[in-house]
């Protein structure tokens, strides 16, 4: 049962479009899948390799802008952005890796945070190239129906999941975890830590970029404030993984489900809607205090109160 769980969920999601759901529900499901991809991508770097990044908006935004600029300047379909992303994001990750990956821990977190902000401000100021704050709009949408968008992001998510599982069960994955647990020890055992951290960053960056390119195609409009924000993308990515559970296969997916539903629910509430960032902040603080390894990581701990009660009554 447990072995086939991913397949069952995948099959279940495949039939969802035939259930004649409203386009709002489909929208939410697409967002959940997109955030799972971003969360899983972040998890490679942050959860498994232990390099916490506060700047994944940079990769996301770069992906979105790759697609958008291809459409805007070359007038080809923005879907070409997804393959183009693989090349461009690898290049970006190599540059970022060269600068940031020599740094450790807190330095790295700060450097990536700055990276996200650099991208945002640059995109705002390079008006001739990126349209600045006016943003880029795709005038003719590919599909009005959400079905095909859903299938595309579903396959991207499934591909990401399989890729991560394969990587983490290979030698590469063990290198990543070794680097997270003790970088000096890993180095002394002959692991070229900078090289493997760069690979981890490239994987993470490319996958996040693909999610960004999908976002461009799906939403049809981007501007620097939408794709490069610190809180709404970078920190939300960290939250998705933290809520679900870092360094677990299912953590980012569970986190994405919870975060997207929460965001949609809280925003639509009267009075509290304006304070949704406060609610997110409080959730983040509570998670750090009580469930530091997330819902999936601390699942046993969550079950404990129920189990002990049963034991006492019987």
């Amino acid at each position: 049962m447990k072995k086939h769980l991913p397949l069952i969920i995948f099959a279940g999601l495949c039939v969802v479009p035939f259930m004649d759901l409203s386009s709002y529900v489909m929208h939410i499901l697409i967002l959940v899948l997109m955030w799972s991809v971003i969360g899983m991508a972040w998890n490679i770097l942050g959860g498994y390799t232990g390099q916490v990044s506060f700047g994944h908006a940079a990769f996301f935004g770069f992906g979105a802008y790759t697609a958008g600029l291809l459409y805007y300047h070359l007038e080809i379909s923005a879907w070409w952005g997804i393959p183009a992303c693989v090349v461009i994001l690898t290049a970006l990750s190599l540059v970022v890796g060269y600068i940031c990956l020599r740094l450790r821990g807190a330095y790295f977190a700060l450097a990536t945070l700055a990276l996200g902000e650099i991208c945002r401000v640059t995109a705002e100021n390079l008006v001739d190239f990126t349209q600045g704050n006016m943003g880029i709009m795709i005038r003719e949408r590919t599909w009005v129906e959400k079905t095909w968008f859903f299938y595309i992001i579903l396959f991207i998510a499934a591909g990401t999941f399989i890729l991560i599982k394969t990587v983490m069960e290979s030698k590469l994955g063990y290198y990543f975890v070794a680097i997270r647990e003790d970088q000096d020890a890993a180095e002394s055992l002959g692991i070229d830590t900078t090289f493997y951290k760069t690979i981890s960053l490239c994987l993470s960056g490319v996958l996040t970029g693909i999610a960004g390119a999908f976002f461009m195609n799906y939403m049809g409009y981007i501007d620097p404030g939408v794709v490069f924000p610190l809180y709404d993308i970078s920190i939300t990515t960290v939250m998705v993984v933290m809520v679900g559970g870092a360094a677990t296969y299912w953590g980012p997916i569970v986190g994405a489900v919870i975060m997207v539903f929460l965001a949609e629910e809280i925003r639509s509430l009267p009075y509290i809607g304006a304070a949704h960032m406060t609610v997110f902040g409080v959730i983040l603080i509570l998670i750090i205090l009580f469930l530091p390894n997330g819902i999936v990581g601390d699942f046993r701990k969550l079950l404990k109160p129920f189990k002990s009660k049963k034991g006492a009554s019987s």
Partner: protein, 307 residues
């Protein structure tokens, strides 16, 4: 001649901005040094102090420079509470992700800036002090001077107060017992523990002092700047850029880093364009990471060792 005038004026403005930035950077560097935490809510604490100063001015007409003495102790107490009930418990939590404390401060920043938006709306506010547009002109004192320079009165006042606070902090850190134990903890926590320093108390005091510095900076900024709830992020960025330029946790480095950043930012604003000033800030940050990973502190140390 006009070019020199512009250059000198920019330099002066940058120097003064740098003095205020140094105050923000100092608080962050102190916290970084003792607790090994980058306080990503630093700018938002400053925002709180600025709102305190703003409301004191609007409701009771208390001058923002006087509010330093109200906002700073208030934030000191606030800092103690946060340290005691949030940071200390999280320090003990075991988890896979190593940067729990940093992420915690991000959570705090989200809560503060959002609550400020909810309570005070997103309006831009300022304290229109009566002397806001006063300035000293060079030609008033030296009529034949070939160039014209001016010094804005609130800027100069803020700068002077910032310098006084920095000197007071320096005396506190070098001459008093508490200050010495703070520096000892920053150097080596285990050694400080062995020598009988109450590290937990030192951490609390340091966090409080870091917030006092940033609160003072907030009160000094409000007469010359404007206030809105999302302003914290920008100053947090300033703070951590300074901390990195200066060398993590180094107070001397933070002062020099603040001055460098202030001058560099005004130069980019004057010669490239207002919108690019943040890019300049991050460019200098990345340059520091690549070419001088130890920060200015490493240069100072090398000097001292005579290498």
């Amino acid at each position: 001649m006009e070019q020199y005038e512009l250059f000198l004026q920019t330099l002066i403005a940058g120097f003064m901005l740098g003095g205020l930035y140094a105050l923000i950077g100092l608080g962050m560097a102190l916290i970084m040094g003792v607790m090994r935490v980058i306080n990503l809510a630093h700018g938002d604490f400053m925002m709180i102090a600025m709102y305190i100063a703003y409301w004191l001015f609007t409701l009771f007409e208390i001058d923002p420079y006087v509010s330093v003495f109200i906002a700073a102790p208030a934030l000191f107490l606030f800092g103690l509470v946060i340290q005691k009930y949030l940071l200390t418990p999280v320090m003990k939590v075991e988890s896979i992700l190593p940067h729990n404390l940093v992420i915690l401060t991000v959570g705090l920043a989200m809560v503060f800036s959002n609550l400020a938006t909810v309570f005070f709306t997103g309006d831009y506010r300022s304290t229109p002090v009566s002397y806001a547009s006063n300035a000293w002109y060079l030609t008033d004192y030296w009529p034949e001077s070939p160039i014209e320079l001016s010094l804005s009165m609130p800027w100069t006042l803020s700068f002077v107060v910032a310098v006084i606070i920095t000197i007071a902090l320096w005396i506190f850190l070098t001459k008093t017992d508490t200050g010495k134990s703070i520096r000892a903890t920053a150097q080596d926590v285990d050694a400080a523990l062995l020598l009988g320093v109450n590290v937990n108390r030192v951490r609390m005091v340091t966090f409080g002092i870091g917030l006092v510095l940033v609160a003072a900076a907030g009160c000094l900024f409000i007469p010359i700047y404007y206030l809105y709830p999302a302003l914290g992020k920008q100053f947090t960025n300033v703070g951590f850029v300074i901390t990195v330029i200066g060398g993590m946790g180094s107070t001397n480095g933070a002062v020099i880093g603040g001055l460098i950043l202030g001058i560099f930012e005004s130069m980019t604003a004057t010669y490239i364009g207002m919108g690019w000033a943040p890019v300049g800030r991050f460019a200098i940050f990345v340059a520091a990471l690549i070419f001088l990973p130890g920060g200015i502190a490493s240069i100072i140390r090398r000097r001292r060792l005579g290498k």
